[in-house]
Amino acid sequence: MLRLEDYKILFIIASLIGTLLFASPSLALVIHLPGEEAFSEIWVLGSNRTTEDYPFNVKTGEVYKIFIGVANHMGSSSYYIIKAKFRNQTDPLPDSTVGAPSSLSELYKYHVILQNGEEWETQLTFSFSNISKVENRCVVGTLKINDVTLIVNKPASWNINYTGYYYQLLFELWIYNAETEAVQFHDRYCTIRLNMTLSSIS
Protein backbone atom coordinates (compact mmCIF):
# COMPACT_ATOMS: atom_id res chain seq x y z
CA MET A 1 0.00 0.00 0.00
CA LEU A 2 1.30 3.47 -0.92
CA ARG A 3 2.06 6.01 1.75
CA LEU A 4 0.09 9.26 2.09
CA GLU A 5 3.10 11.22 0.80
CA ASP A 6 3.10 9.14 -2.43
CA TYR A 7 -0.64 9.78 -2.93
CA LYS A 8 0.02 13.50 -2.35
CA ILE A 9 2.61 13.52 -5.16
CA LEU A 10 0.15 11.69 -7.47
CA PHE A 11 -2.55 14.27 -6.74
CA ILE A 12 -0.13 17.15 -7.41
CA ILE A 13 0.87 15.62 -10.77
CA ALA A 14 -2.79 15.03 -11.67
CA SER A 15 -3.68 18.62 -10.77
CA LEU A 16 -0.84 20.00 -12.91
CA ILE A 17 -1.84 17.87 -15.91
CA GLY A 18 -5.51 18.74 -15.52
CA THR A 19 -4.81 22.47 -15.12
CA LEU A 20 -2.63 22.44 -18.25
CA LEU A 21 -5.36 20.64 -20.21
CA PHE A 22 -7.99 23.19 -19.18
CA ALA A 23 -5.63 26.10 -19.84
CA SER A 24 -4.45 24.76 -23.25
CA PRO A 25 -7.08 26.68 -25.30
CA SER A 26 -5.87 29.95 -23.74
CA LEU A 27 -2.23 28.97 -24.20
CA ALA A 28 -2.90 28.18 -27.89
CA LEU A 29 -4.19 31.74 -28.38
CA VAL A 30 -1.14 33.29 -26.74
CA ILE A 31 1.75 31.01 -27.71
CA HIS A 32 2.52 30.97 -31.45
CA LEU A 33 4.71 28.07 -32.47
CA PRO A 34 7.01 28.60 -35.50
CA GLY A 35 5.27 27.44 -38.68
CA GLU A 36 6.61 25.72 -41.75
CA GLU A 37 9.21 27.39 -43.96
CA ALA A 38 7.62 30.00 -46.21
CA PHE A 39 8.58 29.97 -49.88
CA SER A 40 7.23 30.48 -53.40
CA GLU A 41 7.81 28.58 -56.60
CA ILE A 42 8.15 29.67 -60.21
CA TRP A 43 8.55 27.33 -63.14
CA VAL A 44 8.60 27.18 -66.92
CA LEU A 45 7.29 24.15 -68.83
CA GLY A 46 7.52 23.23 -72.49
CA SER A 47 4.74 23.23 -75.03
CA ASN A 48 3.33 19.94 -73.67
CA ARG A 49 3.30 21.23 -70.11
CA THR A 50 6.24 19.04 -69.20
CA THR A 51 9.93 19.65 -68.55
CA GLU A 52 10.61 18.64 -72.12
CA ASP A 53 9.94 20.19 -75.53
CA TYR A 54 11.33 23.55 -74.55
CA PRO A 55 11.82 25.76 -77.64
CA PHE A 56 15.53 26.13 -78.32
CA ASN A 57 16.38 26.59 -82.00
CA VAL A 58 14.11 29.47 -82.90
CA LYS A 59 13.54 31.34 -86.12
CA THR A 60 11.70 34.36 -87.37
CA GLY A 61 7.94 34.32 -87.77
CA GLU A 62 7.30 31.07 -85.92
CA VAL A 63 5.20 31.15 -82.75
CA TYR A 64 6.52 29.25 -79.75
CA LYS A 65 4.54 28.16 -76.73
CA ILE A 66 5.62 27.66 -73.12
CA PHE A 67 3.85 27.60 -69.77
CA ILE A 68 4.70 29.82 -66.80
CA GLY A 69 3.62 28.78 -63.30
CA VAL A 70 3.75 30.11 -59.76
CA ALA A 71 2.87 28.44 -56.44
CA ASN A 72 2.35 30.09 -53.05
CA HIS A 73 3.65 28.47 -49.86
CA MET A 74 4.08 31.71 -47.88
CA GLY A 75 1.50 30.84 -45.21
CA SER A 76 -0.98 33.49 -46.35
CA SER A 77 -2.24 35.04 -49.58
CA SER A 78 0.42 36.70 -51.72
CA TYR A 79 0.41 39.15 -54.62
CA TYR A 80 2.90 38.12 -57.28
CA ILE A 81 4.15 39.88 -60.38
CA ILE A 82 6.02 37.86 -63.00
CA LYS A 83 8.28 40.04 -65.14
CA ALA A 84 9.46 38.77 -68.50
CA LYS A 85 12.81 40.07 -69.75
CA PHE A 86 14.94 39.32 -72.78
CA ARG A 87 18.70 39.06 -72.55
CA ASN A 88 21.72 38.15 -74.58
CA GLN A 89 24.76 36.43 -73.10
CA THR A 90 26.30 39.62 -71.80
CA ASP A 91 23.24 41.14 -70.13
CA PRO A 92 23.10 40.69 -66.35
CA LEU A 93 21.13 37.91 -64.72
CA PRO A 94 19.53 38.43 -61.29
CA ASP A 95 22.12 38.28 -58.50
CA SER A 96 21.07 35.53 -56.08
CA THR A 97 23.82 36.37 -53.54
CA VAL A 98 22.34 39.79 -52.79
CA GLY A 99 18.79 39.09 -53.98
CA ALA A 100 18.90 41.73 -56.71
CA PRO A 101 16.91 41.47 -59.95
CA SER A 102 18.38 41.85 -63.41
CA SER A 103 18.84 45.48 -64.38
CA LEU A 104 17.08 44.83 -67.71
CA SER A 105 13.70 46.50 -68.12
CA GLU A 106 10.66 44.25 -68.18
CA LEU A 107 8.91 43.62 -71.46
CA TYR A 108 5.79 41.90 -70.18
CA LYS A 109 4.12 41.44 -66.79
CA TYR A 110 1.66 39.05 -65.20
CA HIS A 111 -0.19 40.02 -62.02
CA VAL A 112 -1.62 37.22 -59.89
CA ILE A 113 -2.88 36.87 -56.32
CA LEU A 114 -2.76 33.40 -54.79
CA GLN A 115 -3.99 31.96 -51.53
CA ASN A 116 -1.62 29.86 -49.47
CA GLY A 117 -1.16 26.48 -51.16
CA GLU A 118 -2.60 27.70 -54.46
CA GLU A 119 -0.95 27.31 -57.88
CA TRP A 120 -1.33 29.32 -61.07
CA GLU A 121 -0.17 28.45 -64.56
CA THR A 122 -0.67 30.19 -67.87
CA GLN A 123 0.38 29.81 -71.48
CA LEU A 124 2.82 32.27 -72.99
CA THR A 125 3.47 32.52 -76.71
CA PHE A 126 6.38 34.36 -78.26
CA SER A 127 7.82 34.96 -81.70
CA PHE A 128 10.59 36.95 -83.32
CA SER A 129 10.78 39.17 -86.36
CA ASN A 130 13.07 41.78 -87.96
CA ILE A 131 16.17 39.72 -87.36
CA SER A 132 19.32 40.90 -89.07
CA LYS A 133 22.93 39.78 -89.21
CA VAL A 134 25.96 42.04 -89.36
CA GLU A 135 29.32 40.23 -89.63
CA ASN A 136 29.33 37.90 -86.59
CA ARG A 137 26.51 39.69 -84.79
CA CYS A 138 22.81 38.96 -84.86
CA VAL A 139 20.25 41.59 -83.92
CA VAL A 140 16.69 40.67 -82.91
CA GLY A 141 14.53 43.65 -83.80
CA THR A 142 11.09 42.62 -82.58
CA LEU A 143 9.82 40.21 -79.96
CA LYS A 144 6.13 39.47 -79.66
CA ILE A 145 4.88 38.10 -76.31
CA ASN A 146 1.22 37.04 -76.37
CA ASP A 147 -0.53 40.01 -78.02
CA VAL A 148 2.16 42.57 -77.36
CA THR A 149 4.73 43.51 -80.01
CA LEU A 150 7.91 44.86 -78.48
CA ILE A 151 10.85 46.53 -80.17
CA VAL A 152 13.93 45.07 -78.48
CA ASN A 153 16.88 45.56 -80.92
CA LYS A 154 18.88 42.99 -78.96
CA PRO A 155 22.30 42.06 -80.38
CA ALA A 156 24.14 38.81 -79.76
CA SER A 157 27.64 37.83 -80.84
CA TRP A 158 28.47 34.49 -82.39
CA ASN A 159 29.30 32.00 -79.63
CA ILE A 160 32.36 30.07 -80.76
CA ASN A 161 32.05 27.38 -78.07
CA TYR A 162 28.39 26.59 -78.60
CA THR A 163 28.18 27.77 -82.24
CA GLY A 164 25.12 29.91 -82.17
CA TYR A 165 23.51 33.25 -81.36
CA TYR A 166 22.21 32.75 -77.87
CA TYR A 167 19.48 34.62 -76.04
CA GLN A 168 17.40 33.95 -72.96
CA LEU A 169 13.85 34.69 -71.95
CA LEU A 170 14.07 35.49 -68.27
CA PHE A 171 11.10 35.34 -65.89
CA GLU A 172 11.56 37.03 -62.53
CA LEU A 173 9.19 36.52 -59.60
CA TRP A 174 8.34 39.67 -57.65
CA ILE A 175 6.11 39.86 -54.58
CA TYR A 176 4.14 42.71 -53.00
CA ASN A 177 5.43 43.57 -49.51
CA ALA A 178 2.59 45.07 -47.46
CA GLU A 179 5.04 46.45 -44.87
CA THR A 180 7.04 48.51 -47.33
CA GLU A 181 3.98 48.98 -49.60
CA ALA A 182 6.12 48.13 -52.60
CA VAL A 183 6.77 45.30 -54.97
CA GLN A 184 10.14 43.64 -54.38
CA PHE A 185 12.16 40.96 -56.14
CA HIS A 186 11.41 37.59 -54.54
CA ASP A 187 14.86 36.16 -55.38
CA ARG A 188 13.42 33.57 -57.72
CA TYR A 189 13.63 33.38 -61.49
CA CYS A 190 13.78 30.94 -64.34
CA THR A 191 15.01 31.16 -67.90
CA ILE A 192 14.77 29.42 -71.22
CA ARG A 193 17.74 29.47 -73.56
CA LEU A 194 17.19 30.22 -77.20
CA ASN A 195 19.43 29.84 -80.23
CA MET A 196 18.62 32.11 -83.15
CA THR A 197 19.15 29.80 -86.09
CA LEU A 198 21.07 30.88 -89.15
CA SER A 199 18.25 30.08 -91.56
CA SER A 200 16.12 32.79 -89.98
CA ILE A 201 18.66 35.53 -90.36
CA SER A 202 18.71 37.73 -93.46
Binding site: L4, Y7, K8, F11, A14, S15, G18, T19, F22, A23, S24, P25, S26, L29, S76, S77, Y79, K109, Y110, H111, V112, I113, Q115, N146, D147, V148, T149, L150, Y176, A178, E181
Partner: protein, 161 residues
Protein backbone atom coordinates in the same frame (compact mmCIF):
# COMPACT_ATOMS: atom_id res chain seq x y z
CA UNK B 1 -0.97 84.35 -103.00
CA UNK B 2 2.07 84.56 -100.73
CA UNK B 3 -0.12 85.60 -97.83
CA UNK B 4 -2.45 82.68 -98.48
CA UNK B 5 0.45 80.25 -98.55
CA UNK B 6 1.88 81.72 -95.33
CA UNK B 7 -1.50 81.59 -93.61
CA UNK B 8 -1.96 77.94 -94.66
CA UNK B 9 1.48 77.09 -93.34
CA UNK B 10 0.78 78.77 -90.00
CA UNK B 11 -2.56 76.96 -89.68
CA UNK B 12 -0.97 73.62 -90.47
CA UNK B 13 1.80 74.25 -87.96
CA UNK B 14 -0.70 75.18 -85.25
CA UNK B 15 -2.78 72.11 -86.04
CA UNK B 16 0.24 69.82 -85.80
CA UNK B 17 1.35 71.39 -82.53
CA UNK B 18 -2.11 71.02 -81.07
CA UNK B 19 -2.27 67.37 -82.14
CA UNK B 20 1.13 66.67 -80.56
CA UNK B 21 0.10 68.32 -77.31
CA UNK B 22 -3.19 66.41 -77.27
CA UNK B 23 -1.42 63.10 -77.88
CA UNK B 24 1.15 63.81 -75.17
CA UNK B 25 -1.64 64.72 -72.76
CA UNK B 26 -3.52 61.55 -73.69
CA UNK B 27 -0.41 59.42 -73.13
CA UNK B 28 0.27 61.11 -69.79
CA UNK B 29 -3.35 60.63 -68.84
CA UNK B 30 -3.20 56.93 -69.74
CA UNK B 31 0.04 56.46 -67.78
CA UNK B 32 -1.50 58.24 -64.79
CA UNK B 33 -4.63 56.10 -64.97
CA UNK B 34 -2.63 52.88 -65.14
CA UNK B 35 -0.57 54.05 -62.16
CA UNK B 36 -3.78 54.90 -60.28
CA UNK B 37 -5.13 51.43 -61.02
CA UNK B 38 -1.90 49.89 -59.73
CA UNK B 39 -2.15 51.87 -56.47
CA UNK B 40 -5.81 50.92 -56.09
CA UNK B 41 -4.96 47.24 -56.49
CA UNK B 42 -2.10 47.52 -53.97
CA UNK B 43 -4.32 49.22 -51.37
CA UNK B 44 -7.09 46.70 -51.88
CA UNK B 45 -4.70 43.78 -51.58
CA UNK B 46 -3.38 45.20 -48.29
CA UNK B 47 -6.92 45.48 -46.95
CA UNK B 48 -7.76 41.92 -48.00
CA UNK B 49 -4.56 40.62 -46.44
CA UNK B 50 -5.44 42.50 -43.24
CA UNK B 51 -8.86 40.83 -43.19
CA UNK B 52 -7.21 37.44 -43.77
CA UNK B 53 -4.81 37.99 -40.84
CA UNK B 54 -7.78 38.94 -38.65
CA UNK B 55 -9.22 35.49 -39.40
CA UNK B 56 -11.82 36.37 -42.06
CA UNK B 57 -12.57 34.05 -44.96
CA UNK B 58 -11.36 36.05 -47.94
CA UNK B 59 -11.66 33.40 -50.67
CA UNK B 60 -14.47 35.28 -52.42
CA UNK B 61 -12.68 38.62 -52.19
CA UNK B 62 -9.43 37.15 -53.54
CA UNK B 63 -11.30 35.67 -56.48
CA UNK B 64 -12.72 39.09 -57.42
CA UNK B 65 -9.36 40.75 -56.73
CA UNK B 66 -7.72 38.37 -59.18
CA UNK B 67 -10.14 39.54 -61.85
CA UNK B 68 -9.19 43.09 -60.92
CA UNK B 69 -5.48 42.45 -61.40
CA UNK B 70 -6.43 40.87 -64.72
CA UNK B 71 -7.94 44.25 -65.69
CA UNK B 72 -4.72 45.94 -64.57
CA UNK B 73 -2.70 43.59 -66.79
CA UNK B 74 -5.00 44.36 -69.72
CA UNK B 75 -4.61 48.10 -69.09
CA UNK B 76 -0.81 47.75 -69.12
CA UNK B 77 -0.90 45.67 -72.31
CA UNK B 78 -3.18 48.19 -74.01
CA UNK B 79 -0.83 50.99 -72.97
CA UNK B 80 2.20 49.12 -74.34
CA UNK B 81 0.32 48.54 -77.60
CA UNK B 82 -0.48 52.25 -77.89
CA UNK B 83 -4.21 51.78 -77.31
CA UNK B 84 -4.48 54.70 -74.88
CA UNK B 85 -8.29 54.82 -74.80
CA UNK B 86 -8.37 51.09 -74.09
CA UNK B 87 -5.76 51.50 -71.36
CA UNK B 88 -7.73 54.31 -69.72
CA UNK B 89 -10.98 52.32 -69.94
CA UNK B 90 -9.48 49.19 -68.38
CA UNK B 91 -7.70 51.21 -65.73
CA UNK B 92 -10.94 52.99 -64.76
CA UNK B 93 -12.74 49.63 -64.55
CA UNK B 94 -9.93 48.28 -62.39
CA UNK B 95 -10.13 51.24 -59.99
CA UNK B 96 -13.91 50.95 -59.65
CA UNK B 97 -13.84 47.22 -58.89
CA UNK B 98 -10.84 47.57 -56.56
CA UNK B 99 -12.56 50.30 -54.52
CA UNK B 100 -15.64 48.10 -54.16
CA UNK B 101 -13.51 45.22 -52.86
CA UNK B 102 -11.65 47.62 -50.56
CA UNK B 103 -14.83 48.59 -48.72
CA UNK B 104 -15.88 44.94 -48.39
CA UNK B 105 -12.43 43.96 -47.13
CA UNK B 106 -12.39 46.71 -44.49
CA UNK B 107 -15.87 45.69 -43.28
CA UNK B 108 -14.83 42.04 -43.18
CA UNK B 109 -11.65 42.89 -41.29
CA UNK B 110 -13.57 44.91 -38.72
CA UNK B 111 -16.12 42.15 -38.03
CA UNK B 112 -13.41 39.46 -38.03
CA UNK B 113 -11.35 41.46 -35.50
CA UNK B 114 -14.41 41.86 -33.23
CA UNK B 115 -15.17 38.13 -33.48
CA UNK B 116 -11.55 37.24 -32.81
CA UNK B 117 -11.50 39.47 -29.70
CA UNK B 118 -14.74 37.97 -28.41
CA UNK B 119 -13.43 34.43 -28.97
CA UNK B 120 -10.14 35.34 -27.27
CA UNK B 121 -11.74 36.72 -24.10
CA UNK B 122 -14.39 34.01 -23.84
CA UNK B 123 -11.73 31.30 -24.32
CA UNK B 124 -9.55 32.95 -21.67
CA UNK B 125 -12.43 33.24 -19.19
CA UNK B 126 -13.83 29.73 -19.70
CA UNK B 127 -10.47 27.98 -19.61
CA UNK B 128 -9.44 29.96 -16.50
CA UNK B 129 -12.75 29.08 -14.80
CA UNK B 130 -12.33 25.47 -15.87
CA UNK B 131 -8.75 25.26 -14.60
CA UNK B 132 -9.75 26.95 -11.33
CA UNK B 133 -12.75 24.68 -10.81
CA UNK B 134 -10.63 21.63 -11.52
CA UNK B 135 -7.93 22.73 -9.06
CA UNK B 136 -10.49 23.46 -6.32
CA UNK B 137 -12.24 20.14 -6.96
CA UNK B 138 -8.96 18.31 -6.74
CA UNK B 139 -8.11 20.02 -3.43
CA UNK B 140 -11.51 18.97 -2.02
CA UNK B 141 -10.99 15.43 -3.27
CA UNK B 142 -7.55 15.40 -1.68
CA UNK B 143 -8.96 16.58 1.64
CA UNK B 144 -11.59 13.83 1.64
CA UNK B 145 -9.09 11.19 0.50
CA UNK B 146 -6.43 12.09 3.11
CA UNK B 147 -9.00 11.97 5.95
CA UNK B 148 -10.27 8.62 4.77
CA UNK B 149 -6.71 7.29 4.46
CA UNK B 150 -5.79 8.38 7.99
CA UNK B 151 -9.03 6.91 9.38
CA UNK B 152 -8.35 3.65 7.63
CA UNK B 153 -4.79 3.56 8.96
CA UNK B 154 -6.01 4.16 12.53
CA UNK B 155 -8.60 1.36 12.28
CA UNK B 156 -5.99 -1.15 11.19
CA UNK B 157 -4.84 -3.65 13.79
CA UNK B 158 -1.06 -3.88 14.17
CA UNK B 159 0.49 -7.24 13.45
CA UNK B 160 3.47 -8.52 15.28
CA UNK B 161 5.66 -10.71 13.16
Amino acid sequence: MKMLFFASFVCLFLLLSLTTVCMATSENEAAAKVSEAENAVNSTYEAVQGAEKAGANVTGLLSVLNETVGLLSEAEIAYKNGDLDGAIGKADQCVTVANGILNDALTLKSSASENAQMIFWSTLVYSSLGAGAFAIGLVLVWGWFSRRYIKKMLEMKPEVA
